[in-house]
């Protein structure tokens, strides 16, 4: 295994962390968007309270992945930048709007337009971003990219299904995570049935989309599809087991277990993709080897990553532990 390979593994792990944390934040926005009925306001509050302390940290995983990509595989980043401009710009607009709208709603007190407007901006941009990132990811799989043809990635059926799949996966994760948050406090327990229904529904949607996606993979991206059959079966099985046990756990109201299995289901998909994608970064254009920066730089980055993790892991652990459970006092205030 070369240093570049190792860096690619680090990137995939970073992407997994982003999907499981930041992805769920996007999903939270989706449920904010789809909140209906009597409990809509309570549900939006639950989403907002769950995101509050952690969304900025979750979001940094994306920066981490982008930085790994442009520093470790600069040529691939150059290709991505000059061919995937439409999905990337959409993702970028979504990220900027979502983050800004979230704090404007939380702190604006209506100074810049009613808070619920910003709430809608937050929700819509949260939904756009995973679709755009999914479309961009799909283009790396098909390799159907060309300078001067910016529309290709967004008009491919495979790309669009991948985008929707990414959206469904984030919504699934968010619903599962929120089930546990809601169940943890008597103030929000009444939201559990609705969220549980949403979690089950989005799990089924993910399954159906995966069933559509597989034949498309073979027709649109034969190179990756062949490797997928060779290498990715264990990950697909892992993902399927994760998905099915999530359904069972949700059914049985075991929400902490469901969080873990839902995470495994999503991670399995990403790892299956990564295994099939290797050694290509952009199929037909750049491989891990061809696009790699000089080895000394990659080694330095890997060392920096290790040093960084020494700070990062305990800090993240503290953050998540500190906010693991809703605090009774705050909940009480929210109700008053």
């Amino acid at each position: 295994m070369t240093a570049a390979d190792l860096l690619a593994v680090v990137m995939v792990l970073g992407l997994t962390a982003y999907a499981l944390t930041g992805g769920a934040d996007f999903g939270g926005g989706v449920w904010d968007l789809l909140a209906r009925g009597r409990d809509a306001a309570d549900q939006r509050r639950l989403v907002s309270a769950a995101l509050g302390p952690i969304w900025e940290a979750n979001h940094v995983w994306l920066i981490f992945v982008v930085v790994m990509m442009f520093s470790g595989f600069p040529e691939a980043f150059g290709i991505v930048g000059s061919t995937l401009e439409i999905p990337l710009i959409c993702a970028l607009a979504g990220i900027v709007l979502r983050g800004a709208a979230y704090v404007y709603r939380a702190y604006g007190s209506g100074a810049a337009g009613p808070d619920h407007w910003w709430g809608h901006v937050f929700a819509v941009s949260s939904a756009i971003t995973p679709v755009a990132l999914g479309v961009a990811g799909a283009a790396l799989v098909t390799g159907d990219v060309a300078e001067g043809a910016p529309l290709t990635p967004v008009t491919s059926a495979f790309g669009i299904v991948c985008g929707v799949f990414a959206l469904a996966a984030t919504a699934f994760l968010a619903a599962v995570y929120l089930c546990r948050d809601a169940a943890a406090s008597p103030e929000t327990e009444h939201l559990v049935p609705g969220l549980r229904r949403r979690a089950l529904g989005s799990a089924v949607a993910c399954g159906l989309l995966a069933a559509v996606l597989l034949p498309l993979l073979w027709s649109e991206a034969p190179v990756v599809a062949d490797r997928f059959a060779d290498r990715s079966v264990p990950f697909v099985v892992l993902s399927a087991i994760g998905g099915v046990t999530s359904l069972v756990a949700l059914w049985q109201h075991r929400f902490t277990a469901a969080r873990v299995t839902a995470g495994i289901a999503v991670a399995g998909v990403l790892w299956g993709w990564a295994a099939a994608q290797y050694p290509d970064l952009v199929v037909g254009r750049a491989t891990v080897d061809s696009a790699a920066a000089p080895e000394a730089n990659i080694v330095a980055m890997l060392i920096a990553v290790c040093c960084g993790l020494v700070v990062l892991v305990p800090s993240l652990w503290m953050l998540f532990r500190l906010f693991a459970n809703p605090e009774p006092e705050a909940e009480a205030e929210a109700r008053s």
Binding site: R45, S48, A49, G52, P53, E56, A57, H59, V60, L62, I63, F64, V66, V67, M68, F70, S71, G72, P74, G78, G81, S82, E85, L88, I89, A91, L92, A93, I95, V96, R98, G99, A100, Y102, V103, Y104, R105, Y107, G108, S109, A111, A112, G148, P150, A293, P294, A296, N297, A300, M301, A304, L312, S315, L319, L322, F323, E327, A330, E333, A334
Partner: protein
């Protein structure tokens, strides 16, 4: 803004010279415009991410020790403003990391690896910041006051290190070294190349001081405006005092760093120095030209004030020091000296004004101390107006400074190695992308200004009465009293100070206007 003007004139200049095909020239102009706007937008918030935690460390530290509600009120107000500024800074920073690739794909493809270590470390610094900001903003009730205060340390340290890492990347673009290229491909690069860039040390210190000055100036400005409107309570007095102290201590130091910076630039990027000074022709006994407009045709500055020999003296401590002029390189390798000279003068002029304010305030403070007057910081209306102006002046000076750094590097994206027009995207969608970016950022900036104005207006914050408690971070009520007492904060606070803490330990006690 200066940078926007630079871009427009750049577009115009390229269109006139016609040495490039118009589409690519437009593309370059628009991509530069978008980068300039994104950077300007980002940096206006990033400076608070660097400066605010240090100020919060001070005010919250005072609160932890004294439990004085005025310190808590300052902490609460600042932490809310900081939350918004940091979030916008964070998302605009993310946008930048994408834009590098979208706008300058060839640059990233060739040099991404060189900058890898800087950006990787920056990523971790940013991570640390974001994690502890989550704890800080939302952990009021879950952490003890002391633990809560401690979470500020990693935020402050990581914010400062972020500056370090990002500045090294920019410094390398200005003075690239320690990299070997063959046929336009980097074959070997020392991982620490950005950290070894000749311009890195002064750029870093210059920027850190600028960040502190901007933060201090804006904080002082907000409270000065409040006092001009008649709110002269302890809360405003202390806010003003802290902001002004930070600004006015940093301003003179900035002069020393600036002088050092100019000498390094003169050695490493003589053409940039020539553009800054509006020096057309290489000469000894070079004068320092204040103000004026650089005329490209004659290579002279019109309407400027020349101080004979001074530039040579400043650069080489001798009037015989030869200073390289713009004419030393062909016209297509010269930056736009008109704008760079102008921006440089704006920066230096504002910096000098702030130093003058610093000296004047310092003098008056000493005087008042000798006379036993309190508060030490003068709060007459002219002083308050000066303090109110100092914030925008610092920010404008910083932006002008970046225009000097970036505009003065033109036409290079990596000095001497890659030109901006070689790096730019070939996308035909640039006009649409540019328009979209401008509209997005204008909208967000307008909303943000409205929100910050609302936050800045009025006295100390009333306990969690605004909005729903779960939306905004939960913030504790002042120790002894819940919400009901909050509206009377300043009055009760100064009374408490006067009788309790005594004037010896807390100079801010009994802050009455003795003007």
């Amino acid at each position: 803004m200066v940078q926007a003007a630079e871009v427009l004139s750049h577009v115009a200049a390229l269109a006139q010279t016609g040495d490039l095909n118009p589409a690519s020239a437009t593309s370059t102009g628009l991509a530069r415009g978008q980068t300039a706007i994104s950077l300007a937008f980002h940096i206006c918030f990033a400076v608070f991410g660097v400066g605010m935690p240090w100020l919060l460390l001070y005010v919250e530290g005072r609160w932890v020790r004294t439990r004085d509600p005025v310190w808590l009120a300052l902490t609460r107000k600042w932490s809310r403003a900081f939350a918004v500024l940091f979030a916008v800074g964070a998302v605009s920073g993310t946008a930048l990391s994408f834009e590098f690739g979208l706008l300058w794909p060839a640059f990233m493809a060739r040099y991404g690896g060189v900058l890898g270590l800087s950006f990787t470390l920056e990523g971790f610094a940013f991570f640390t910041e974001a994690i502890f900001i989550g704890m800080y903003l939302y952990g009021w009730k879950r952490l003890s006051p002391r633990a809560h205060w401690l979470t500020l340390w990693p935020i402050a340290i990581a914010g400062t290190f972020s500056t370090l890492f990002i500045i090294t990347a920019n410094a390398w673009m200005n003075t690239p070294g320690h990299v070997t290229e063959v046929d336009g491909k980097v074959v070997s690069a020392e991982p620490f190349a950005p950290f070894l860039a000749a311009t890195a040390p002064h750029q870093l210190i210059h920027m850190l001081l600028a960040a502190m000055m901007c933060t201090g100036g804006i904080v002082a400005g907000v409270y000065a405006v409040g006092m001009l409107r008649g709110r002269r309570d302890a809360y405003h007095q202390r806010g003003l005092r802290i902001g002004l102290t930070v600004l006015l201590v940093c301003a003179p130091l900035q002069l020393i760093v600036g002088d050092w910076a100019a000498r390094v630039v003169g050695n490493e990027q003589p053409i940039k120095l020539a553009a800054m000074e509006g020096l057309g022709h290489t000469t000894t006994h070079a004068p320092l030209t204040l103000g004026g407009i650089y005329d490209e045709q004659t290579g002279e500055v019109r309407h400027g004030i020349e101080i004979p020999n001074l530039l040579s003296l400043m650069q080489g401590f001798s009037a015989d020091k030869e200073i390289i002029g713009l004419a030393a390189v062909p016209p297509e390798e010269r930056p736009n000296a008109l704008l760079v000279h102008l921006a440089f003068n704006v920066m230096v002029g504002l910096g000098m004004a702030l130093i003058a304010l610093s000296a004047a305030v310092g003098f008056v403070v000493l005087l008042r101390r000798r006379r036993g007057q309190r508060p030490l910081v003068p709060t007459g209306r002219p002083w308050l107006w000066a303090a109110a102006a100092s914030g925008p002046a610092s920010v404008l000076a910083m932006m002008a400074g970046w225009e000097v750094t970036e505009g003065g590097r033109q036409p290079w994206i990596v000095y001497g190695r890659m030109r901006v027009d070689e790096a730019v995207t070939t996308s035909s969608g640039m006009p649409a992308i540019f328009t979209g970016t401008v509209l997005l950022y204008l909208g967000l900036a307008t909303a943000l200004i409205l929100i910050l104005r609302r936050m800045a207006t009025g006295g100390p914050e009333l306990g969690g009465s605004v909005g729903e408690a779960t939306r905004a971070p939960d913030i504790p009520d002042a120790r002894p009293a819940p919400d009901q007492q909050a509206p009377n904060l300043p009055a009760s606070a100064s009374a408490g100070d006067g009788s309790g803490n005594g004037t010896g330990t807390d100079p801010s006690g009994r802050e009455e206007d003795t003007r």
